[in-house]
């Protein structure tokens, strides 16, 4: 038994050494260069836990609206909810068509922004890192120089980063309560998220996020997934200002009775003078 443990430890150690010496892009200062357009390729936004395919929130969309099956991204499979926290998850799930912050085009928070099915761009300079997400114009600046506490909660929180070897570690706090997926999994404003970005080769990042939220979970838990570089020529972030697609859901009941919906879909007025 002892021999097996030693061999496994050796393999793990070797794997780590190899990872550190892999041929990865680096900045002039020698740090891994995360710059580029990245995207998760999984079904975590449908449900971060392992799940089979089920009917979606809107049956009228047919198979387009179905929840696609996924092997899950949570370490150990299930989120360790406290029993008292499960009822809210279930209530969220029941009202997901109208209450999912993604449906309302709200800023997705961390870590959900990472595995929304849309690309994001990491902009790494000599002194700082910015992440620009396609969805909802979400954006974060990762403070690498003088870490500080969040002055007040916000949707994308305050991110403080540092390097542990070749891994970018980002501590995120000051986040508003938000959903983690379209299935109603959620986290409170008390959560602290620790992200780890490790470039494993030129086109892949190993992403991990540990969520510590004692108000909802019995222990900190981790989700992990690879991120893939968008390598196609001309790859770029497109406009996805989703507000306009949430307006009918959110404000449709306030439309003037009898007003022509088609006419208002493309208003003549711009943003003003």
């Amino acid at each position: 038994m002892r021999t097996i443990v030693c061999v496994l430890a050796l393999i793990a150690c070797t794997d780590r050494v190899l990872a550190q010496h892999a041929d990865i892009p680096r900045t002039r200062a020698g740090k891994p260069d995360l710059s580029g357009i990245w995207q998760a390729l999984n079904e975590a936004d449908w449900n971060v836990e392992p799940h089979v395919a089920v009917q979606g929130a809107t049956e009228m969309l047919g198979a387009i609206g179905a929840v696609a099956p996924g092997i899950g991204v949570v370490d150990g499979g299930a989120i360790p909810y406290l029993p008292s926290a499960l009822s809210q998850r279930d209530a969220n799930r029941s009202h997901r068509r109208t209450e999912d912050p993604e449906a309302k085009c709200f800023l997705p928070g961390v870590p959900r922004a990472t595995y929304l099915p849309y690309p994001f761009q990491i902009v790494q300079s000599d002194t700082g890192i910015m992440i620009v997400y396609e969805f909802a114009g979400a954006v974060r600046t990762i403070n690498m120089k003088s870490p500080g506490e969040a002055p007040v909660d916000s949707w994308m929180g305050v991110s403080n980063g540092h390097w542990e070897g070749d891994t970018l570690v980002v501590e995120v706090s000051g986040l508003n309560a938000n959903w983690l997926d379209r299935s109603g999994n959620y986290a409170s404003e008390a959560r602290r998220v620790t992200e780890r970005y490790t470039v494993t080769d030129a086109d892949h990042i190993r992403y991990e996020a540990t969520i510590d939220d004692p108000s909802l979970f019995s222990r900190p838990w981790t989700l992990r997934m690879p991120l893939y570089r968008r390598v196609e020529p001309g790859a770029r972030l497109m406009d996805f200002r989703c507000v306009e697609f949430a307006e009918e859901l959110m404000y449709g009941d306030l439309r003037k009775p009898g007003a022509d919906k088609a006419a208002s879909d493309k208003p003549a007025a711009g943003p003003g003078k």
């Binding site: 900045t27 002039r28 200062a29 710059s35 085009c105 709200f106 800023l107 761009q121 902009v123 790494q124 300079s125 000599d126 002194t127 700082g128 910015m130 620009v132 909802a136 114009g137 979400a138 954006v139 600046t141 403070n143 002055p151 916000s154 949707w155 994308m156 001309g234 770029r236 972030l237 497109m238 406009d239 200002r241 507000v243 306009e244 949430a246 307006e247 009918e248 959110m250 404000y251 449709g252 306030l254 439309r255 003037k256 007003a259 022509d260 919906k261 006419a263 208002s264 879909d265 493309k266 208003p267 003549a268 007025a269 711009g270 943003p271 003003g272 003078k273």
Partner: protein, 328 residues
């Protein structure tokens, strides 16, 4: 008459001295050698403010007076803020001073100019071409006829889709004035605090292929001309209208921005807008921005937008009351 001559010659001398001072100042700025990124580009990244009390267009009574003197500037900086869109304070919850939103409560960037707009020389927007004016008037009338029918009929900024000051071209705005520039090899990002819109601008030797698609803020690409970042933008969505027009720019519409670091804590932002379908002449201007010692905080517009539904709710209630007629 002698007094008039004396006053006239004094003004002439003062103008000469001012021009000399400005030329010296501009010369010093041009001599500033910006530090470089590790890959060799001029370093412009940082969080800047463009908070100013200089109006976008020059007050008509100033004519061609392009600059204030230092003394005039001092007087102005102590006066109440100049705002282009006046707000009647009817609600105690929007006392801007209570929230630190008055321009004199935060870092103000010194600028002796009398207007942000410098071209045309009178500092005023050029008139729309007659045909464009007719189209604009018609579009505005159509919009106003249904202005409160639905959320989709409201202006873009009320809907938290795009604020006019975000541009391009950028424009100083009364509050939440921070602009963050980020750089990496091959890209510059221009992020406006309000409403957290990041323009990711590729750097290239020639215009990249944007696939013929438009964007809310257009397709921007940039290149360096010496220490100046030149950004060209075309393909702005036809749902966005430029200043003074209720119709969008045409296919030849273009915005050129020039960003130059002028000192350890300052940059100059210049812009030129042209579109032969709207104006006979291009228009443009410039303003300085200064490094802020404050981080840029999230301005989540849509998430807290109770103003839009409340506006519509109020109108619907008003319609019901009107339909019920006066009480008997």
């Amino acid at each position: 008459m002698a007094m008039q001559r004396h006053a006239s010659s004094s003004r002439f001398v003062a103008t000469l001295l001012l021009l000399l001072a400005l030329a010296t100042s501009a010369g010093a700025a041009e001599k500033y050698k910006a530090p470089r990124t590790s890959w060799g580009d001029p370093l412009i990244e940082g969080v800047y403010t463009n908070n100013t009390n200089v109006p976008f267009e020059r007050p008509v009574d100033l004519g061609d007076k392009a600059f204030y003197s230092e003394q005039e500037y001092e007087v102005r900086s102590k006066a109440p803020a100049v705002v282009e869109t006046t707000t009647t304070v009817t609600d105690v919850h929007y006392q801007t001073a209570d929230f630190g939103l008055d321009p004199d409560q935060s870092q103000m960037v010194k600028n002796l100019r009398t207007s942000i707009l410098t071209r045309p020389a009178n500092g005023r927007m050029p008139p729309l071409r007659p045909d464009a004016q007719r189209r604009s008037d018609a579009a505005r009338a159509a919009q106003q006829a249904h202005a409160f029918d639905s959320a989709q009929n409201r202006p873009l900024q009320e809907r938290c889709l795009l604020w006019a000051h975000e541009g391009p071209p950028l424009r100083p705005v009364g509050y939440n004035t921070l602009v963050q520039l980020a750089q990496t090899r091959g890209y510059v990002v221009l992020l406006t605090e309000m409403i957290h819109d990041a323009r990711v601008i590729p750097l290239a030797k020639s215009r990249p292929d944007f696939g013929g698609l438009t964007r809310w803020q257009g397709n921007s690409w940039g290149h360096w001309e010496g220490d100046t970042l030149v950004i060209e933008t075309t393909g702005i969505s036809d749902r966005v209208t430029p200043r003074g027009s209720s119709v969008p720019m045409g296919p030849e519409g273009k915005v050129i921005e020039r960003i130059t670091r002028t000192g350890p804590k300052s940059i100059r932002y210049e812009f030129t807008v042209s579109d032969p379908s709207l104006w006979d002449v291009p228009w443009g201007g410039e303003f300085p921005m200064e490094l802020s010692d404050q981080p840029l905080f999230e301005y989540a517009c849509h998430e807290g937008n109770y103003g839009l539904p409340n506006t519509l709710r109020g109108i619907r209630e008003e319609e019901k009351t009107r339909n019920r007629g006066p009480r008997q």
